[in-house]
């Protein structure tokens, strides 16, 4: 079974973890930054998808 949303979550999570671990050394700050990056990627993708829905119709 293929879930496009799951793929997006995995991608956003991986990018968030790598950037969070590189840019912050304190574990708590690294986790916080990783969550922000992942949420930003997912949120931006959903927002763009929502806009494209109106463009396509």
């Amino acid at each position: 079974m293929h879930s496009h949303f799951l793929y997006m979550l995995v991608f956003a999570g991986a990018v968030g973890v790598v950037l969070g671990a590189m840019l912050r050394s304190d574990p708590r700050n690294a986790v916080r930054l990783a969550l922000w990056i992942a949420a930003g990627l997912v949120g931006a993708a959903l927002a763009i998808a929502w806009l494209m829905y109106f463009i396509s119709s």
Binding site: F11, A14, M22, S25, A30
Partner: protein, 156 residues
Amino acid sequence: MTDEDFSVPRPAPQPVLPQPGVGSHQDEELGSSSVDSIKILVTCVLAWAVPGLGHIAAGRVGRGLLLGCVVLALFAGGIGLDGKVYRPEEGEPLTYLAAVGAAGVGLPYVAAHALGMGFGDIRTQGYEYGNTFTLVAGLLNLLIVLDAYDVASGRR
């Protein structure tokens, strides 16, 4: 993962200026400088060849394991989704850029091509996702190499 917080600004390291009339000290400094350069170069090569190994070699074991696992999982996941591992194709200039990005993951890129994996299957649903995963794994590892350079040179 117990080192200091990067968000706190710290003063840049001061360069060591040579003292006049102390030749032996100059030789020692030159010797240690070349050793440091070799150490930094080896760290960067290790960081490129195996994701996370540069950080492990520089003493950041936890961070190296985390970064390595995530990048390798992303790369393997991309191949598992029937994505292709980009290689230069004649007449397709953009594939050269993509190949440079994907090759950033190091030896796994070489292994994928040597084992005949990574050609991708455009008929599958995961093809485009797989392409993105393998490409971004390489690009992330290039950032990790830059971070390993900073760690090895004492900037972090």
